[in-house]
């Protein structure tokens, strides 16, 4: 790692740490941005590096969301009564209960989806191409529909996550969730970056380029595919758990297993930035979040129309994404970020 990239990383880290104090009004938006980046980066492990275009990572996100909230409530109070009482809180978490519940909940929210991914991975990841895409799409929607029928997690009426304890009010709540999601982002980035410097990434790329050939070369592709999916599931579940607490209300099809929004967003963000790169999904997610907030603010009511048009335009005119386009257009003139990624990719190819 060169000196310049260290400066870049430390700069971003410092910016991330002081951002909620510079822009206090945008704390929630910044936390959502962190979650979006986590989702896009982990989608990229499948879609970009491995060539398995999944719509199903939303499954782990939603699972994490429900698990975190359920554990947080269920550790101290009966879960069924909590969901039955709906909005009116009959139970109140003390601060220590809240934070303990959140900590345990996040661990469960990250670990259980990982196990689920490992269990279903063998069956699902054997599918190829569009069969895999449609199958994972079905998986996400099925999870949403089925969780919408289960009474103990609120069924159709939704699940209210434990409210933030009464210390420091909204400010403290925003800061807590911001640092939680920023922590998840940093963790994801470090993990993914570490993975991308190992042989593992080369194997994933080999699977993307020609799976049969990779198999013929003696690589146990299934093992690596499942491992890749489990890594994605871990961070997706974590992001889901944080997002559940941040939103404060979980609905089966509109918040948790929201294939129409989050499930497409993560694909779109990675493609917008340029899939198959480390920085692409991050840049894509940041840009996309600005776009999205712009749409949601200025075209309120028309935001999905704008979103649909955006998807079509990105897919037709920018299938290589921003990074791919820039790299093609200005191979030398582009800033450090791309050069770094580019050089690294070339070194790894040799």
């Amino acid at each position: 790692m060169s000196k310049n990239s260290w400066i870049l990383y430390i700069g971003i880290l410092v910016f991330g740490l002081v951002a909620p104090f510079i822009f206090p009004a945008f704390k929630v938006q910044l936390s959502i941005l962190c979650v979006l980046i986590v989702l896009a980066t982990t989608w990229n492990i499948q879609g970009g590096e491995m060539g398995y275009n999944t719509f199903g990572n939303i499954l782990f996100y939603g699972l994490g969301m429900y698990l975190c909230a359920s554990v947080q409530v269920g550790m101290f109070f009966p879960l069924a009564e909590w969901t039955e009482s709906g909005g009116e809180k009959t139970f109140v978490h003390t601060p220590s209960q809240f934070f303990q519940g959140m900590a345990v909940g996040l661990v469960v929210a990250a670990v259980v989806p990982t196990i689920v991914a490992g269990l279903i991975g063998y069956a699902i990841l054997g599918l190829r191409g569009h069969y895999f895409a449609i199958c994972t799409l079905g998986l996400g929607v099925a999870a949403g529909e089925i969780s919408g029928g289960i009474e103990i997690i609120g069924a159709g009426q939704g699940f209210t996550t434990p409210p933030f304890p009464n210390i420091g009010g909204l400010e403290a709540r925003g800061e807590f969730f911001y640092f939680l999601s920023f922590g998840a982002l940093v963790l994801t980035f470090i993990a993914v970056r570490a993975i991308y410097t190992t042989r593992f990434r080369l194997i994933l790329n080999a699977i993307r380029d020609n799976e049969d050939k990779a198999e013929a070369m003696g690589i146990e592709t299934m093992k690596y595919k499942i491992t890749g999916w489990m890594i994605s599931a871990f961070f997706c579940g974590l992001a889901g758990g944080i997002m559940g607490g941040l939103v404060g209300y979980i609905d089966s099809t509109d918040v948790a297993f929201d294939g129409r929004e989050m499930g497409v967003f993560m694909v779109l963000m990675a493609i917008l930035g340029g899939k198959g790169t480390l920085w692409g999904p991050i840049i894509g997610a940041t840009l996309f979040h600005f776009f999205k907030e712009g749409f949601w603010t200025f075209f309120l009511g028309w935001q999905y129309v704008a979103l649909g048009v955006l998807i079509v335009v990105i897919v037709i005119y920018f299938p290589e994404g921003l990074m791919g386009w820039l790299r093609e257009k200005y191979p030398e003139r582009f800033g450090e970020v791309v050069d770094e990624a580019d050089r690294k990719a070339q070194v790894e190819l040799k």
Partner: protein, 297 residues
Amino acid sequence: MDFLVFQYPMITIQACLDGLLLGILFALIAYGMALQWGVMNIINIAQGDLVILGGYIAYFMYLYGIHPAWGVIVSPIIMYFVGIAIYKLVINKVVDRDLFISILATFGISILFMQLMNFAFGADVVLANSGYGTTMLFDNNVVLPNSKIFSAFISILFAICLVVYMKRSKLGRAIRATAQNARAAKILGVDTEKVYAATFGINAALCGVAGALISITFTIHPYMGLPYTIRSFMIVIVAGLGNLPGVAMSGMGLGIFEEFADYILGTEFRIGSVFLLLVLILVYRRFKLSRKREYLK
């Protein structure tokens, strides 16, 4: 097991008949999907939304006092041009590309349509009342709305017409030639661009017919499109491309499965069970194929 289905055989008959009539409709939609999949190698996620749009056309005729059954003729004509427009604007740019690009592009169209329909027609569940009455069978134990019988009849009629058209007409031959080998067809003077546009238009028209029938027999709602897409995809992969009797059979099978899932698991799990069945079928298919691969080794 004290499910009603097992205690009263009449409910079983009811579910089977309902499922059969429903499944014929599904098969019609699936036929459109098989057509464009075979010819253009595109999986259209917006298929279900085209169906719903076709349904709204019939519903609007009903609102303006025209009998909604005429929608069966009007809606495919309008939908044909909608299909051509979609092809010219979006699909022709993604035809030769990676399949995932086309899935994502049509997903975008699907979201767009969903929301435009939501604006234009409102988010209410609507149905066009045909006033056809009901038929009672087996001592009034089994109730069949005549509209369902009508819709099954019309679906079969359209399917037969289409098969004959594909076999006999010049365009039908061109479509089949393009499906077999697009490049060879081009060399022999087939305007494949035109064939693709026509295929997409015919698919949209079929969706229009199915939508009009659905608006008469069931209900329509702007967000109900995706399940129809998934159903038709499922039917096509079970039957295989270009296997028309198979499409009809698996369509009816899916219809019966859904009715039983509705009775046994409850209505709230109906859509969920469809999607879960899709996953199970794909996984089953994967293991079957992998066994074949090992055998080849």
